[in-house]
């Protein structure tokens, strides 16, 4: 009973915060909808990272502090692909002169010279979505290598050791990225088609420009929903998924069944890495990737996992969206004037309250990581 009521209460509290704060506004509803929409894409990113964290924790029993770094690496896959697509040949154009009177240098991306101007340009334009195809195998293989090479040896070690070694790994990964891509954020753009914004409010009968939502965020949300659905589908409808779920419920018994758990563990880690990576790829137009974005998201994703309930996949998704939306409500000016600074701490505050009042989290199961 309480398992179900708690999220409901939280959602209710969230709406209360929204309404209470925006009572001075002319249109209350549109502000609420806008904030919910704003929270969705961030929430989706939290949910995707938290999903992978939970998957790894639930099956492998490993606390992976490097998961944020995987998200970051995914984002930089998109950056790398964009750079690759823009690789150009330099030719001298004798018909044009630069200011010194020499023939002007013209950069022609290889893609343009190979596929013709139109096709080439649109490939470059679509580099972020195309990076999904590029990033997926990279992330899976990267996950395999990590699991086989490092994580495997930490299954039997204390959680503190797992935290520490993956924390070290996260530093290493982020420093490597920093070495190759520099410390500054690298803007990465969405395809032209998605540049604009959707006047969402008009659909719901509000006045024009009341609720404006960039197309790409919509795309991101849809993508995240699809990704989450396919992970759940995979776990629900395949034999492999069944074993994984059984493993999350009771690791020892599954080990006794004579199923070769090791290979599956590797695959799960690869899968979780891919989910985090793809979440990162698609997030690049929303947030220009920088080398420390992984750490920033990791801390929050851990909080999300704890709020959702360690070891509960639906909990991770639910808490991800919930906290994302909560955060966007808290950053409304009306709320901030009511409780200053609330936008900075709301997630941590919720996490502390949840952990103390409901140690298992919103949807945590009994026996997972209990004292």
């Amino acid at each position: 009973m309480t398992e179900q009521t708690c999220p409901v209460i939280l959602a209710y509290a969230l709406v209360l915060v929204g309404t209470g704060a925006s009572h001075r506004m002319a249109g209350t509803m549109d502000a609420i909808i806008l904030q919910i929409l704003n929270g969705l894409d961030k929430g989706a990113a939290y949910a995707l990272i938290a999903l992978g964290l939970t998957l790894i924790f639930g099956t492998l029993g490993v606390v992976n502090f490097a998961h944020g770094a995987l998200f970051m690496i995914g984002a930089f896959c998109a950056v790398a692909l964009q750079a690759l697509f823009n690789a150009s040949t330099v030719t001298l154009d004798p018909t044009k002169l630069d200011f010194l009177g020499n023939p002007a240098k013209v950069e022609t991306p290889y893609l343009v010279s190979w596929f013709g101007p139109e096709m080439g340009a649109s490939i470059i334009d679509w580099s972020v979505p195309l990076a999904i195809l590029f990033a997926f195998p990279i992330m899976v293989i990267f996950g395999f290598v990590l699991e086989r090479g490092l994580i495997k040896h930490f299954y039997k070690r204390p959680h503190a050791d797992q935290i520490l070694v993956t924390f070290g790994l996260a530093i290493v990964l982020q420093e490597i990225v920093k070495y190759f891509f520099g410390a500054n954020p690298i803007p990465t753009s969405a395809p032209d088609v998605f540049r604009g914004s959707l006047d969402f409010g008009v659909w719901l009968g509000f006045e024009a420009n009341a609720i404006i939502y960039p197309y790409w965020r919509l795309v991101y949300f849809a993508f995240a929903a699809l990704l989450i659905a396919s992970v759940f589908g995979f776990l629900q409808f395949t034999t492999f998924g069944m074993v994984v779920r059984a493993g999350m419920a009771d690791r020892e018994t599954v080990g006794l069944l004579g199923i070769d758990i090791d290979k599956r563990f590797t695959l799960i880690f690869g899968l979780a890495a891919a989910v985090a990576g793809l979440a990162g790829v698609m997030y690049t137009p929303i947030l220009s990737p920088n080398y420390h974005m992984g750490m920033d998201f990791l801390v929050l994703s851990f909080v999300v996992v704890v709020v959702g309930g360690m070891g509960s996949l639906p909990g991770a998704v639910l808490a991800g969206f919930l906290l994302g939306i909560l955060q966007s409500f808290a950053s409304m000016n009306e709320v901030k004037s009511l409780i200053p600074g609330i936008d900075q701490i709301i997630i941590y505050l919720v996490a502390i309250i949840i952990l103390l009042s409901r140690p298992r989290g919103l949807m945590g199961r009994k026996g997972v990581m209990e004292e």
């Binding site: 935290i163 290493v172 851990f302 200053p340 701490i345």
Partner: protein, 400 residues
Amino acid sequence: MLGLNRKDAILLLIVAVLALFAPFILNPFPVDSALAQFNAGYPDLMQRFVIFGIFAIGFNILFGLTGYLSFGHAAFLGVGSYSAVWMFKLLSMNVLPALVFSVVIAGLFALVIGYVSLRRSGIYFSILTLAFAQMSFNLAYSVLTPITNGETGLQLALTDPRILDSAQVGGSLPVTSLFGAEMRSAMTLDLAGWSFTFSVGYYLCAIIMLIAFYLSVRLFRSPFGLMLRAIKSNQQRLNYTGLESRPYTLAAFVISGMYAGLAGGLLASMDPLAGADRMQWTASGEVVLMTILGGAGTLIGPVLGAGFIKYFENIFSKINESILHQWFAFLPDGVQDFIVMILYPFIGKGWSLTLGIMFMLVVIFLPGGLVEGGQRIARLFRRTKTTDGDVVSTKTKPAE
């Protein structure tokens, strides 16, 4: 001696000698020699050695003894710094009240955070402390700007009241002192090409570190320390032995928070400004690393770890490409370029990369840290199964 057994007394003596003669020990190369860049005997760096040593000693009381891994200890360091700077602004430039105040405030802060966080253990505890520290960090940057001065950081100003100090003469900012002895004042001794600097600030820090170290040795060897180790070993048995573990863990948490506050206060005493970045969770990670690298649960480990990391941080950050080329100048050009290319990512700004790799290597291969490494080497030489150095699995032999 001082209520310590022989082995601990010797250990304390070694640390004392190292700390007091650090200006000599850390400056083994003449000023003009090519190796002078490896010298670390200047006050700024030496102060950081001992201050982070205090921080790590305190962290070790919590993590090394009870096994509770806090990922938010930098918050206490930051609180200590802010408290100290406020004392400099309001009361006096004397460091004594500032240090006392920073320890007290950090202790209170730790009491509140510890009271809440210690209701959970294991990874939940780690995440709770992390959440609290991030919260403090975010607040310091935003709402608490009147207290913390936000991104700029808290600094001294000419208009500060400083009610105990006599009115400022001239237009320059006052400097921190201990009853008139200015922290930044130093004496330089030139000896045939070598140059040694003795600064008041460093010696104050060193003496405080020695006291902190001594207290931690006493604590390790006390019944209270035994209870903390019992908590790490088997909490359930402790409960069935008639003891509740939470007051003990809370006490350890507060004590280690006070150590962190002291370190923060000292940082501010040496350089009176405080910024929120001292509270960031990467800073918390750094103290974890120092403790692990040195050897968690050992007495000397945290001090070693702190010195090691701060030393290499300084040295590695200073090396640049041309220095590398100098080193490998004896090699053929192609090989030289290749080696420099390989090494380049790890030096200068790449220090964090080296740090991360070290972190991983230590956790993977040497969970007991440098102390364990030293013991292994010692054992190799001795080839006999002897005592385990200063690891805490002590022999509590009677005093005589």
